[in-house]
């Protein structure tokens, strides 16, 4: 072996000990080993060095790694929200482009919403039920406003006797949003009151609890709004036979809804937000429940019925169904 050959032989031996040579190259190495003790010594040394490194103790990640990663994801959600708020407060560039986009949105969004409503009406079941009703199951179907959402028809089951609400979120950061929601559920002691179901691209959290705890949960979830591209919120009450649907409700608006003491007040406030969110369009619905099947809603006019169990002094139980759709 000459000094000129050395780098080439080293490379050959290096690949040889890793089993990365062809059969022909292996035979060439074996021939070299048989005829040159220097090469054999070089190989032995290389193998021992490799074995030494391979045998170095493996050190495990700190035990808090998973929690730390989840914490970082949550912090990034917060930072993202702050950045968005700054952008909303201090726009500096592209005013003309934004005006053009805003004008386009004013034209296109109502058309899109009108299309969804018309489509829903024409695809109603033959019994002539409400566009948010489903005949074959005790549930309602709500469609998230953004047409880019996969599997956007999501059936949510009503719970008889409860004030029901549904918040549907569409996000491209579903893993982080789901992680944050789960932590908020856990930290508010709502784990036992929550049922999580997963279907394709959608996670659904069905939380049944008192208005106080639901409000606390929503307060903790405030930071996820910045990570969601769009949302739809719906409230409905079986006894009042009234419902309201709000597109792109803000984190402040949804808290305003749940801060109302009575179901009627919540629906009234939600309807108000449905009307004052014109930029994205809103839909409101009124439902009546079929007496033969108290949890199947049908289209009708509003009817005022008192609901809360004030006499018992026990806080009412309400349901919030949170749906996270990954984009």
């Amino acid at each position: 072996m000459t000094q000129i050959d050395k780098p080439e032989i080293e490379e050959l031996l290096s690949s040889y000990i890793d089993g990365e040579l062809s059969e022909r190259q292996c035979n060439e190495v074996k021939r070299l080993l048989d005829h040159d003790p220097q090469v054999a010594e070089m190989l032995a040394r290389m193998e021992r060095q490799k074995e030494l490194l391979n045998a170095l103790p493996v050190e495990s990640a700190p035990e808090t790694m998973l929690a730390d990663i989840k914490g970082s994801l949550e912090r990034n959600l917060l930072i993202g929200r702050e950045v968005q708020e700054i952008r909303e407060v201090a726009p500096s560039k592209g005013i003309f482009a934004r005006r053009v986009l805003a004008a386009a949105a004013m034209i296109l969004v109502p058309i899109g919403i009108l299309s969804i409503v018309v489509l829903s009406l024409f695809s109603s079941p033959p019994e002539g039920k409400d566009n948010i009703a489903k005949n074959d199951s005790p549930g309602v179907t709500v469609t998230i406003a953004d047409s880019g959402i996969p599997d956007s028809d999501i059936a949510v089951e009503l719970l008889p006797g409860n004030f029901n609400s549904a918040l549907q979120l569409a996000t491209s950061e579903a893993a982080a949003v789901n992680s944050f929601i789960e932590k908020a559920i856990y930290s508010n002691g709502l784990s036992d009151n929550t049922v999580l179901s997963e279907k394709d691209t959608i996670n659904t959290y069905r939380v049944s609890s008192t208005p106080t705890l639901i409000t606390a949960l929503l307060q903790d979830m405030e930071t996820i709004w910045a990570k969601c591209r769009t949302n739809r919120f719906m409230v409905y009450d079986e006894q009042l036979q009234r419902a309201a649907v709000v597109n792109n409700i803000t984190s402040v608006q949804i808290l305003d809804v749940f801060e109302q003491a009575e179901p009627e007040g919540r629906i009234t406030v939600a309807k108000m937000f449905a009307e004052i969110n014109p930029a994205v369009g809103s839909v409101e619905a009124t439902v009546r429940f079929d007496p033969s099947n108290p949890i199947k809603p049908v289209l009708t006019g509003p009817e005022q019925v008192p609901t809360t169990d004030d006499a018992s002094g026990v806080e009412e139980k309400i349901t919030l169904i949170i749906t996270v759709a990954g984009l």
């Binding site: 490194l53 045998a55 493996v58």
Partner: protein, 202 residues
């Protein structure tokens, strides 16, 4: 929280699919599956436990936040390690402080026996199992200190091959370099490490 989800073991593809759909359980499983290997690899490259922990955390945060951009053209494993190695490489390039395994840190210690043992082992003059020798704390420190003397490019390729156990194909995918470059770089890295160890063990 009661989960209506079947508890089955999923491969990376299944876990990534579910993670992309927002399944936080799948996200946790992916992290737990790889956190030790990523941490160990980063630690062997950057030679500092605190830095390795931070870089591991940063790696997973970045991967989870960008999981929707993962097209599946390479294995998730190599994509994950590409992120880890890139972050660590950039970190090492701008770092000014010495790693904990530096040879200077070892200079004042009573390492004569360990040096002699390692010298014998590498000279192939003993039948001692390298796996047993490597468990000796001082010998491990000498090896890691020698490793930290290598250039970043050489250190990374040798860690991926000899410590993480990647194939040449996986290294090429992780570092986004040609297979021939992997072979030549690894060979040079091993030769340089040999020289460093010989100097240390004189």
């Amino acid at each position: 929280m009661s989960q209506q989800v079947e508890n089955i073991t999923l491969d990376d593809e299944g876990l990534v699919y579910r993670c992309r759909r927002g399944d936080s359980d799948a996200m946790s499983r992916l992290i737990l599956k790889y956190q030790d290997r990523v941490y160990n690899t980063i630690l062997k490259i950057c030679a500092n436990r605190d830095d390795a922990a931070e870089l591991t955390q940063e790696t997973f945060v970045k991967v989870i936040e960008r999981i929707n951009t993962f097209k599946g053209q390479s294995a998730f494993y190599t994509w994950l390690f590409r992120v880890a190695v890139n972050l660590t490489y950039n970190f090492c390039k701008r770092r000014v402080k010495l790693p904990i395994y530096s040879l200077e840190n070892l200079a004042g210690k009573q390492l004569d026996d360990s040096r002699a043992q390692l010298k014998t082992l590498l000279a192939d003059e003993s039948t001692v199992d390298p796996a047993l020798v490597a468990q000796n704390k001082e010998i491990g420190q000498i090896a890691l200190a020698a490793l930290s003397e290598l250039d970043e490019d050489h250190r990374i390729v040798i860690v991926l091959r000899d410590i993480e156990g990647m194939t040449y194909d996986e290294i090429a995918q992780t570092l986004q370099i040609e297979l021939g470059t992997v072979k030549s770089r690894l060979s040079r890295a091993r030769a340089n490490l040999k020289s460093i160890l010989e100097t240390v063990l004189k």
